[in-house]
Symmetry: C2
């Protein structure tokens, strides 16, 4: 398989990395000056590759193949976290560019239609997944009012950039037959198993809760233990029990996290009157998520105490349903992986969210993972082996050919 030009692929990735480079990592948050410059560069590279490329009305870069359908949509995102890695999203976009370019240049495949996208705001600088949600027709007026940390709304920034009246890329059921996103794993599984390719079977769903413990702030010396309504102590026992019970209820790949904790007023000599925690858990199976949710709800119900510390779920985050990848697409990805990296690939779920989960309910979708060194992501230290980056592009190209043949 010599469709992929490794030097060209890695060269384009290096150039994209130079937009916002920060040590080993990248700072290129959505709609920042450097992000806009990177989008304009990407439009040029796509055009050179023979795609009809433009930045659309929500900021996505979309390169349409000049060929008629059936078409496959490749891509990911070029925006980053505030302290982002150089491959998270970027690799999938440049993989798409390289595969479209390589297939167009090869007389044997030049008739195949491959569109390439860099979906806007995957990292949620604004509302999150703006580009892929726009593509499937899921954006509402409200989404354009979402603001970044500086308080500028999507609508305001689009007006300022002069992009607001541009048409937006749209899913065309008559043309698009599948979507594929390649991405770094962002976890340790492939590396730990000594494998090089993951054929993603599903993207995990996420449930989130905010739980508040309301007690009575008081003097830490003069308030006897039996008269205390200590919000922090109630929270410690709750979280300890929650961890034990979730361990029993969870699936093999489930994860759960209490990542945000605040205790008020927060002084060594004051019995805390209020504590707030954010609970989050993920699994690829909605049945498991339901079971874990029952654990949270039951524990809150048990501990709810009008006389002592009052425990209450104050926010249930909009649940993100697990997104199974389409079995036909997964089969093509698996066949491509076995052809190109025999015995060095596995089926696996994705533990992180991706544009693919937005697309999956609307067209047959799949994902390809390559290993992350030490499983690190959302961090300047994020990295992958160059050989794995090239291998991922080869598997992606082969999967596209299989899907369109």
């Amino acid at each position: 398989m010599d469709r992929i030009d490794a030097d060209r692929l890695l060269g384009d990735l290096a150039t994209l990395r130079s937009f916002g480079a920060h040590g080993n990592g990248v700072v290129r948050t959505m709609f920042s000056e450097i992000d806009v410059a990177a989008r304009e560069w990407l439009v040029e590279r796509m055009s050179e590759a023979g795609l009809e490329a433009r930045i659309d009305g929500v900021g996505s870069v979309y390169g349409r193949s000049p060929n008629p359908g059936p078409a496959v949509v490749l891509g990911s995102h070029t925006d980053t976290q505030p302290e982002g890695g150089w491959l998270d999203g970027a690799m999938g976009v440049i993989h798409g560019l390289e595969v479209a370019r390589a297939l167009l240049a090869d007389p044997a495949t030049s008739h195949l239609a491959v569109d390439v996208a860099s979906w806007a705001d995957e990292e949620g600088t604004y509302g999150g997944f703006l580009g892929s949600r726009s593509f499937v027709g899921a954006l509402t007026d409200e989404d354009f009012q979402a603001t970044n940390a500086d308080g500028e709304s999507v609508q305001q920034v689009l007006d300022r950039l002069g992009w607001a009246d541009r048409p937006r890329a749209e899913l065309d059921p008559a043309r698009h037959v599948a979507a594929l996103e390649s991405h770094i794993e962002q976890g340790p599984h492939l590396e730990h198993q000594g494998l090089r390719i993951g054929a993603v079977t599903a993207i995990v769903g996420i449930r989130g809760y905010e739980v508040v413990f309301s007690g009575q702030q008081n003097h830490a010396g003069t308030t006897p233990m039996d008269l205390r309504k200590d919000a922090a102590m109630a929270m410690f026992h709750f979280c300890s029990a929650l961890d034990d019970r979730l361990r029993a209820a969870a699936g093999e790949r489930s994860v759960w996290t209490v990542g945000q904790v605040s205790v008020e007023p927060g002084a060594p000599s004051i019995v805390p009157g209020r504590a707030t925690i954010a609970i989050q858990f993920r699994d690829a199976d909605d049945t498991v998520l339901d079971r874990m949710a029952s654990v949270v709800e039951a524990l809150v119900a048990e501990r709810h105490s009008p006389d002592g510390v009052h425990v209450e779920i104050t926010d249930r985050r909009r649940p993100l349903a697990p997104a199974p990848m389409e079995s036909g697409v997964v089969a093509h990805v698996s066949a491509a992986a076995e052809a190109i990296a025999p015995g060095a690939w596995t089926h696996m779920p994705s533990a992180a969210g991706h544009d693919a989960q937005v697309l999956a309910p609307h067209l047959p979708t799949g994902m390809i993972f390559i290993p992350s060194i030490n499983g690190v992501s959302h961090d300047f230290a994020e990295d992958s082996d160059h050989a794995d980056i090239v291998l991922g592009a080869e598997v992606l190209a082969d999967a596209v050919v299989r899907i369109l043949s």
Copy 2:
């Protein structure tokens, strides 16, 4: 017993309250403009009462009886918390003024020597207990470098006020035979038991620890449970176990608090890499404090894990030893309480710190408590029944007469 002039006592307390009044409460932090004005007013009232009064070289107001010893020192403090109550400290000072005044005016007791103090900085706007520590000769040069939240040192403010070169009130073993401090309880015990006077037997000691949990910050989706080093989860289990074990090791009146908690970086989607807590516990018995300290140290040693989350005590606060009140003084206070409020008093420890604990190792010392409404203190809502305030002064006067007779 009609030694105490209730109207004069309550009138002086109301005037003192007007310095820094804030709703029901008072804002009169040490060395603030309003605190200095209150000290100058207090010098005038003491002088009118026949005491030789002055502000001394560390900011304490000291009114010396014109009579030769043996003398009793009465008093407390007139500085307040940033959001203080109107009685915390203030009552004990005005009680002292009223008792000295009443005894001097009564031919039967006009020969008794009663000194009265408002000790500087009890509330720790600077280093804490500056006045009483100066009185017993425990201040060091370092104490004069302690700063308030604005960064001004004790030395700087004394220079600015022109008080730096004044002599400081000093304990005189040839003259002083006892110290008595009357105070609101700041807790709920007297009120709950329907009692009006507490004869304090000891002031609790305090131990404090800062404990840090160091794990590994990571992606809350892609990091499997068995590879996590979740600092927050380790902290929850630690605190839950700590509460259970301290309950078993503690005495009947022991209290323990985890009042300060910080979890970093503190985002719902990030496995916390670091958690920090402040543990504090109090008891009147050093043996009990030692037992509780062993629980903390043992739990840290057990959980200390170089492979997982690393648990470490990063700070042991300077322990405050329990201060037993002198048995002879306690006996006189008890006799006075029984004489004036028969059956309506009890022996009890003080769960909060007071100037009396600084004085206690140096001369026979006692404390008298009156009930706090709802046990509230260090809060604008702090209050006590006026009849209890007057009763407390009557018990104090009677105790002084008993000690000096």
